[in-house]
């Protein structure tokens, strides 16, 4: 099993959710985050006091997938979340040691 973490532009969430669904990934967890990579932030102005705001709002998606589905899922995310401009985000993949469905106690791929 793999845990795919993707940090994407917030307005792309709907598109990503849709293509992941088409790829057979039904569930996900979404968090509002902020961060930066190469994308510059912006300046804010309050009565003459200028503040450089480096952090840009992003959305983080976490999906747990079986090894077979991993490549498809990554492709789906990259395809849907990309706009071609700086700040599109990144996808990280880590090994998932265990997964359990709380209601039934199923484990492993059955729990995904």
């Amino acid at each position: 099993m793999k845990l795919i973490t993707a940090v994407i532009k917030p307005f792309k969430l709907e598109d990503v959710r849709q293509v992941l669904g088409e790829a057979g990934v039904q569930g996900m967890t979404v968090t509002e985050v902020k961060g930066f990579g190469r994308q510059k932030g912006h300046t804010e102005l309050y009565r003459g006091a200028e503040y450089a705001v480096d952090f840009v709002p992003k959305t983080k998606i976490e999906v747990a997938v079986s090894d077979e589905v991993m490549e498809q899922a990554i492709e789906a995310i990259v395809g849907a979340a990309g706009t071609g401009s700086i700040g599109d985000g990144k996808v990280f993949v880590s090994d998932l040691l265990q997964a359990v469905r709380i209601r039934t106690g199923e484990t492993g791929d059955q729990a995904l």
Partner: protein, 433 residues
């Protein structure tokens, strides 16, 4: 049957006389219901300016960890000033006494009955109207020491300040026995008594308490400018009670006061906005409403004396001056007047008081200079009023703060300031979203 007919006849005669003789229409005992109705309304409008107007305006500008503390300070000040006003502060401000302060003749509202009049309105209404001014002036000062003052020290400071600074200065300017009143100073609704007064006290407090930890390098972003925008709107609307109510009558003077208030505010807001647009590349919401408040403060002393032309000049001038005071001068001088009470109210009020002396003149559409008084002489009187207030308020505020600092301490500890006043002083959080 006989009685009914004669009552109607009498009523008819009364109406005929009222139509023919001006002033006959007022009630026989001097009370004018039109004046009274307006003053009741104005009183409500001015209280509305503090809670919620100023409260929201300020709350939105501080950091999220201090949002409640500011609102709590304003609300508590309203309550505390009310009690003190009834007990003795009204008497000190408007009682007979010397040229410098009233006596205790009206303490506990002595002599103010249901039917007692002050001019054409009940004295109870005059009392209430003036109370709302004694509430908003200390509340304004909150902006100078926001985010770092101990709640207990704030309460003590306000109680003492309203007694020994506000009341005497109000007496000087608005009581017939007051020395500035006698000299003919023009302060229709409180440029001296409210804005310069609060501005100086806030500046002194900002300096005595010292800068907020991390100022000016750390970002201290307003937590909710939406609240600030709402508060600014409430201040503008409420200010009609503040200015148009200060004539204590429902008449043409009030009407014109309302007009010039509107003009000055709009002009100042646009001035600040365009200045900021030019210098930073974009106009900001905070800048726009800051300009508006500057215009409101500036027109306050002049509102019953100047005409539309004067209002335009006052608005534009205060927009310019307050913009520079807040955006350039404050940064250059380095003091932390957190919510710009001095820059907006102090500077704006000063400009308004000075220009009132100029634009009161007939040829500028004003109410006209007093008999035998030249413009230079009037402006000189205005300067005396401004100077006396700056010195007295500055010195006495300083003393009160220093004494309190030595007795109970003015500022929360560094750690407490870091954590935020809402938790530290009130065990609460503003938002639990």
């Amino acid at each position: 049957m006989q009685n009914k007919i004669s009552k109607h006849v009498l009523a008819g005669i009364y109406v005929a006389l009222a139509l023919v003789i001006p002033d006959f229409a007022v009630a026989q005992d001097g009370l004018d219901s039109g004046d009274t109705a307006w003053m009741l309304t104005s009183t409500a409008l001015v209280l509305f300016m503090t809670i919620p107007g100023l409260s929201l305006f300020y709350a939105g500008m501080v950091r999220v960890k201090n949002v409640l503390s500011v609102m709590m300070q304003c609300f508590t000040i309203c309550c505390l000033m009310t009690v003190l006003w009834v007990l003795y502060v009204y008497s000190l401000a408007f009682g007979d006494g010397s040229a410098y302060v009233g006596d205790f003749g009206k303490a506990f509202m002595a002599g103010i009955e249901v039917d007692t009049l002050s001019g054409t309105i009940p004295e109870s209404v005059f009392f209430m109207f003036q109370l709302t001014f004694a509430v908003i002036t200390p509340a304004l000062i909150v902006g100078g020491f926001a985010e770092r003052m101990k709640f207990s020290a704030m309460l003590w400071f306000m109680a003492i300040w309203v007694s020994v600074v506000y009341a005497p200065i109000a007496h000087w300017v608005w009581s017939e026995s007051g020395w500035l009143y006698q000299r003919g100073v023009l302060d229709f609704a409180g440029g001296i008594v409210v804005h310069i007064n609060a501005g100086i006290a806030a500046l002194v407090a900002a300096i005595v308490l010292g800068k907020r930890r991390g100022y000016p390098q750390s970002p201290m972003r307003p937590n909710n400018l939406v609240l600030t925008m709402v508060g600014a709107g409430m201040l503008w609307v409420g200010w009609f009670g503040f200015n148009a109510g200060s004539g204590l009558a429902a008449n043409g003077v009030s009407g014109m006061a309302m007009v010039v208030t509107q003009i000055s505010t709009a002009a100042a807001a646009l001035t600040w906005m365009f200045l900021e647009w030019r210098s930073h590349g974009k106009p900001s919401a905070l800048g726009l409403v800051s300009g508006a408040v500057a215009g409101l403060g500036a027109i306050t002393p002049a509102s019953g004396f100047v005409g539309p032309m004067g209002a335009f000049v006052i608005g534009i001038t205060s927009g310019l001056a307050c913009y520079f005071a807040v955006v350039r001068v404050k940064t250059a001088l380095g003091f932390d007047d957190s919510l710009d009470v001095f820059g907006v109210h102090g500077v704006g009020g000063t400009i308004g008081v000075l220009l009132a002396g100029v634009f009161v003149a007939d040829r500028f559409g004003g109410a006209g200079l007093a008999e035998g008084v030249s413009m230079a002489s009037q402006v000189g009187t205005q300067v005396i009023g401004i100077g006396a207030t700056i010195v007295y308020c500055g010195v006495v505020s300083f003393i009160i703060l220093k004494v309190l600092d030595n007795v109970i301490g003015l500022r929360v500890s560094e750690q407490e300031e870091q954590e935020g006043l809402d938790i530290v002083c009130h065990d609460e959080q503003g938002y639990n979203l």
